[in-house]
Symmetry: C2
Subunit: 538 residues, 2 copies
């Protein structure tokens, strides 16, 4: 805290600092008094998961085919029949458990039965070889098991949770085992904290939009567990940036406001000693903070609290978390210089999975956006006095952005010393209101038309692109963009939307090996949020 505080001094924000310091000091005292209680509240809000038992629709034959997603295509479907190698299709994506029952055979099972099971969200996943290609993450994210069965008849219930639609089962000693056992049934126990009985009626009427709404909703459903997970296959973590998008989609669909509340309390309760909010967390076996701290995610804490207040009217929680929301400014504003410009931060700036993206403009916008929403939250809660000292920064940062990052000739924002043109820059400049109206429309349109422009690589940033287009009054473009991008996943057979999608490269993976990709990823659930909202305000 001292370090961060010191940076602000160094950056020369001495004028407004006195007031902020007092405010942050008071916020710190309140946070410390409340923090343990926040974790208690998170615990009390832990949902009981809803269970649904599914049986496979049958088995599918999957063949290598360059026209299929990642080179594999379903070429046939038939009722289950035993084979040395078969793929069960549960008919839909699910997060949950797998079990199967075995009958005794004509002759006793006189050796252990060894099976390999692979759980996949896509056909390509179950057909792939996880060891053929390295990954920057862990090979263990590939969902495969070797199961050895000693006794039949019996039920074999795998203890781990998987995210899957397909289950491939390979029996190396199939021939020897013939007549010694028979599969009696396969069952999936799908778990979620999304309650279909509470699902808001869908106002979307267009069939193509309905299709994307449904896929997005299923994505959200399968990520809704005891917390909002980023992806139920990987990494099963609560990320503040993903949470915000999940919360927005959830308000339009399953309306599980308690789950949002629980997640806000988890992230606040798991904040480090410096009272900077946790931006990635685990809740099993006990709540624990991850080691990542993302600057632009931190900036989204106040907006997420504000949206929770708007969606639920839960003033008590917003009031409870207010010192936390306020306190984050000390962190997000630290890398902003005396002229109101974001220079460079020795912390993780995410924005998008794009290593070559210059993030200056996007961070400038993110931080400013967070600041504005914090002030708005203060306003709503009657704490305007506590943000008075930082309010001048809104104009200062806006002016700095226009002065330093706006290219008046090309009518778009550039970023960094190389004056890079990216959609990320325009998006966050628009969302933070640095430009509005025609300027906003111009920068979005001009940047998109710029040769070599860096476009979003993740659905996460893609979501903010849609939002920015909408904010700029380009809803038709927003809709077109959304339908094209998420429709591209749907056209490739997505049951749930993916963590990464490059329309030009089916094998895109931020982690070296696409078999490790998460194909049900919460930050990709935007369609049900936008399409439903638009349908209501058409």
């Amino acid at each position: 805290m001292k370090r961060t505080f010191g940076m602000i001094v160094l950056l020369g924000m001495s004028l407004p600092l006195f007031g902020i310091e007092l405010t942050f000091g008071e916020a710190d005292r309140m946070i410390e008094a409340r923090k343990a209680g926040w974790l208690e509240k998170a615990k009390a809000l832990q949902p009981t998961l809803l269970h649904e038992t599914l049986t496979p629709t049958g088995i599918v034959t999957i063949a290598e085919d360059p026209s299929g997603f990642q080179g594999w295509k379903i070429t046939g479907r038939k009722p289950f029949q035993p084979a040395p190698d078969f793929v069960l299709d549960f008919g839909r994506h699910l997060t949950g458990y797998f079990r199967f029952t075995l009958k005794a055979g004509r002759r006793p099972l006189h050796f252990p039965l060894r099976l390999r099971l692979v759980f996949g969200e896509t056909p390509a996943e179950v057909m792939g070889d996880p060891d053929a290609k390295p990954t920057g993450l862990s090979r263990a994210w590939y969902q495969d098991e070797v199961v050895t069965i000693d006794f039949v008849p019996g039920e074999i219930a795998l203890p781990r949770r998987y995210a899957f639609r397909y289950v491939r089962c390979t029996i190396p000693e199939y021939k020897q085992a013939d007549g010694l056992f028979a599969f009696d049934g396969f069952f999936a126990d799908a778990v979620t904290s999304a309650d279909e009985r509470k699902l808001a009626p869908c106002p979307v009427r267009d069939p193509a939009e309905q299709r994307l709404d449904a896929i997005a909703r299923h994505t959200l459903r399968d990520c809704m567990q005891t917390m909002f997970e980023d992806g139920p296959k990987r990494d099963r973590r609560l990320w503040l940036g993903d949470l915000r998008l999940q919360a927005l989609a959830n308000y339009e669909t399953y309306r599980n406001r308690d789950l949002v509340k629980r997640c806000l309390y988890l992230l606040a309760g798991l904040s480090e000693k410096d009272n900077i909010v946790c931006t990635d967390a685990y809740d099993k076996p006990v709540p624990r903070a991850g080691v990542c701290r993302i600057l632009d995610y931190t900036a989204l804490f106040a907006p997420t609290v504000l949206e929770h207040l708007d969606a639920s009217g839960d003033r008590e929680t917003a009031e409870d978390l207010w010192p936390m929301a306020l306190r984050q400014l000390q962190y997000t504003l630290a890398p902003v210089d005396e002229d109101g410009l974001f220079r460079k931060a020795a912390v993780w700036c995410f924005i998008d999975w794009d290593r070559d993206l210059d993030k200056q403009a996007a961070e400038q916008g993110s931080i400013l956006y967070g600041l504005m929403r914090t002030i708005e939250l203060a306003n709503r809660l009657g704490h305007r006095d506590q943000t008075a000292a930082v309010e001048p920064l809104v104009e200062k940062m806006t002016a700095a952005a226009r002065r330093e990052l706006w290219d008046a000739n090309r009518r778009l924002f550039v970023s960094g010393p190389g004056k890079q043109v990216s959609m990320a820059s325009q998006i966050w400049m628009v969302l933070s209101g640095v430009v509005t109206g025609q300027e906003a429309r111009d920068c979005l349109v001009n940047a998109a038309a710029t040769p070599g422009v860096r476009k979003p690589l993740t659905p996460y940033l893609r979501n903010y692109w849609i939002e920015a287009l909408d904010v700029a009054g380009l809803r038709d473009d927003a809709r077109r963009e959304l339908m094209a991008y998420w429709g591209g996943m749907a056209d490739r057979g997505a049951d749930t939307f993916w963590e990464g999608f490059d329309p030009g490269d089916d094998f895109f993976s931020p982690y070296g090996n696409p078999l490790i990709n998460s194909c049900c990823h919460a930050w990709s659930c935007a369609p049900c949020y936008f399409l439903r909202r638009w349908a209501k305000t058409r």
Copy 2:
């Protein structure tokens, strides 16, 4: 039943048949009336297993070394410390379960932890590659698992039972996982129905003998589960031939007579519709007969019942099972021709794991032995009338053996059309009393000195060799033979005695791949039976 009965007619035993037929008919009626009750009795006798929690003595380093058993040698021991690949030593062989606890690390476990665990009865087993060599049995007998762990801290309890002393743990992503978890403890839950509190005091005084007694006793202990298993690693089955040797060893050690009784009831209760006793059975998940039917094992049912009566005084059980004991004669005598000679049977004759062994003489002896013991059992139970019709066969079979199989010049028995000389032939001729005294001694000594004589390949037949030497009055030879053979295993580091041991070939396996061998095998527990009996009758 008709088929077997028909064979007897065909073989021309028409004279004694009328009486036998009546007797067998009555036995069949009694068996059918009692069979379900036998399974009920077996169920009622199911023991509650005793549990002992063990922790490793530390880790061992194992290096390739031609002087070690199967090419591997323990070269060092040290307290546990984490490594990408380590072998735990539990200090003794055990049958049971494995669990371990993990602590959370400095940083959260941000990917699943994937471990490979191999359970081994010997150092070579955990170091081997089960897929490098095929096996005629199943690769699944190799005790390895891939375990993926999602959460720390936590306890990971593997659900399967293993037979092991060593546990090798390999962590492919050890480097990445450093600091994310720590091993907190390793535990083995050893299970047995052998109660140390009921163990008979050991009368053996010689340290070398005591060593073999202890190893044999541990072999027996780890095979004593809810039934007498042949081997707790493989095939975890109750075999009548093995049971007999286990029962004899058990009477001298753990004295769990109820377990013998349960096993007799299981084998009788699981007899097929033709009322021929089951010679291999499973008791989990529910009692079930195996598909094997071994002629020479069937012949051992009556002897085993008789010995149970002797050891326990349990006349009720012997009486209950008497019709079953009697009824087996119809099966075992079927391949004996009108002259009293065993010709050839279209059933499995085991005797030993030796494909090139001619089994005529040994089966002649086994069947005759069973017949004699059945008559003795009848005598003891006052049912001599029921065996009257078969009693003349004792002399007839003895005479046939002497006439057809005895080589008077070489003073030993030969077998089959090739007049093969094997220890198996001498052993069973001696045990069945075809020869006694000097002739018995001569045939055993002469055969052993014959170039190319087929010697026992399994401890099972080796056991009967020891017995035959003893019966023939050659106890010193018996003791020497026992100490040399079982001592050979002990010298190679055996914690429990093995299913197969060829002093000239450490890699001997009846199944192609020594990694599949069972190294705790009940038919090898003879030392504690002989050494204790001899110590008492010295």
